[in-house]
Point group: C2
Chain length 330, copies 2
């Protein structure tokens, strides 16, 4: 492939001049600029970003490590991140950790070797990971959705679902449900903890019981939601309502409920954290807690870009909304 030297030769200028027109440097005579442009077109020259990055020490690339691409929440987030990043002149390299901390480390490592300018992470569990180490190392980084406690210098862009969860428990209580169960995320994720605690707190506020067997830990994937639901339904006194702390576990819960020939909400009510388009069309439509996913992605990128460009970056906490549908009853 043609290099800058070839362009220079063809345009009868030096490589320095070619570089200048490439980068929009003003001190180039219009005529010269035209000659260079022409040479570039004729040769089909494309600047070598690798060489440029080596020289300038930045790659115009952001890394985004999410825990599960198949989760519609994260794909929506990824899309929002990419849009905002592009608006700032960055591209995005994605890594899918599949909820495994080893895979997460793998991606962080390769992203770092690629010398991305900044890192967006929605950390999975295990805080003994590379992420903690990197957090201290000066690489611009921001947590999105989830975070790791004890990384004080890393901004967090997330949504606080506590009010919405309280509203959900209100809603369930008003519909007459008293035995409420929850499928939490891994105890090692912040979101998992926060959502579970908010739920338990809301139960207490209503004077509702919160026995240990009405709480199962899942891993944010459909299979675990299904298994947790099976254990609930096997109880001598199964819950009247189940709250899944993410959409995939809610999907698994529906699987199990349906497999047993039970009906939502008549036999058991269901609600989920994270709203997604499909919830409108399930049988019945699922009441969910909607995060402002786009704002989350945009805010995270803005914080990261601030950090990269040397401005102070701010954490950002958004709020979620309850979207009642039929899956909890009338």
């Amino acid at each position: 492939m043609a290099g800058i030297k070839d362009v220079a030769a063809r345009a009868r200028v030096s490589v320095a001049t070619v570089s200048r027109v490439l980068n929009g440097h003003p001190a180039v005579r219009p005529g010269t600029r035209e000659r260079v442009r022409a040479a570039i077109d004729e040769l089909g020259y494309r600047p070598n970003g690798v060489a440029r990055s080596l020289r300038t020490d930045h790659t115009s690339t952001l890394g985004l490590v999410v825990s599960d691409v198949l989760n519609p929440f994260f794909t929506a987030l990824a899309r929002a991140v990419e849009d905002e990043a592009r608006a700032h002149g960055y591209s995005v390299v994605f890594g899918n950790a599949d909820e495994q901390s080893a895979l997460q480390d793998h991606h962080v490592r390769t992203l770092l070797e690629r010398r991305i300018d900044g890192l967006l992470v929605s950390p999975t569990a295990d805080s003994a990971s590379l992420v903690t180490e990197v957090a201290g190392s000066g690489v611009p980084m921001v947590f999105v959705d989830r975070w790791i406690a004890g990384c004080p210098r890393v901004p967090v862009v997330r949504t606080d679902g506590r009010a919405a969860i309280a509203a959900l428990v209100d809603h369930l209580h008003r519909l007459g449900h008293r035995r409420l169960a929850v499928i939490t995320g891994p105890a090692t994720t912040t979101t998992g903890n926060e959502r579970a605690e908010a739920f338990l707190g809301a139960l207490a506020a209503h004077g509702l019981p919160a026995p240990a067997h009405y709480r199962e830990e899942g891993d944010f994937q459909a299979g675990s939601g299904r298994r947790a639901t099976a254990r609930f339904l096997d109880l001598p006194e199964p819950p009247e309502a189940i709250f899944a702390t993410d959409n995939l576990m809610a999907l698994g819960a529906m699987d199990e409920i349906r497999a047993r020939g039970l009906r939502v909400p008549d036999d058991v009510a269901l609600a989920a954290f994270d709203d997604i388009p499909w919830f409108l069309h399930t049988d019945p439509p699922v009441t969910a807690i909607a995060q402002p996913t786009e704002a989350l992605g945009h805010g995270a990128v803005r914080a990261l870009v601030d950090l990269i460009e040397g401005r102070p970056a701010t954490s950002l906490t958004l709020t979620a909304d309850l979207v009642p549908r039929r899956s909890c009853g009338e």
Copy 2:
């Protein structure tokens, strides 16, 4: 950040030796290797992939440009691609074209500048795009799912849905539906055309009518499915069944049907191309044509890696299966 020189100094060897242990070159005395390893750890050294890529002229990176990340089919594909790529030692940079050819070009351009080793594209419409130009330029490239006619040297990894579509028309016919409508993809996409033609062909084989007003062109996004369905339902004699050629347009169709207070399948039957987990839980479950998405992603990466490593690459055509559910009737 520490460089190879710092490591060399600390281990009291030359940079060449450090490079050798980095790359597993055998001709290093075990003792030396150990000293270097220790120095690397102590400094927290991470090789600079940018410099390495410049020197070696490869980046161990593949580019994947899909038309819509929010489409579950493509996110499943992306995941399969990433898995297989990782198994071969490559990482993947994704670009989301959002069905816009300008955005697609943008991504192709930046990927090329980043000097990715190979490109996987599911091209959107517009064949006058950069993609066609690149196809001829010697950059390893393979088309996945969709392709562009007239790029003879670019392998295509895709699924042939014709048999499954014929089976679907059989299925609909057997259930008593006679007035069948189709929402196609953009005429400029190969998949859009193939699916529409297969459907029309199957109608003809059954002696069913195929009036022009039973065919609407969508853009593979939910909104267009909804609008097309609205036009169908406004017809004096609306169709008895609607076939959406992708899952998002099917979602839009359900939106519209439900908004009018009609029921699936009693008032109108619905089927979709591309099966996704949510279709099991919609009301009613929708019959779909399932592509072997994983095999598609894996096959595409293998073909691309073959190309990159100088082996002959082969096109691959898989087949799809009809998964009957309740949305077409009993």
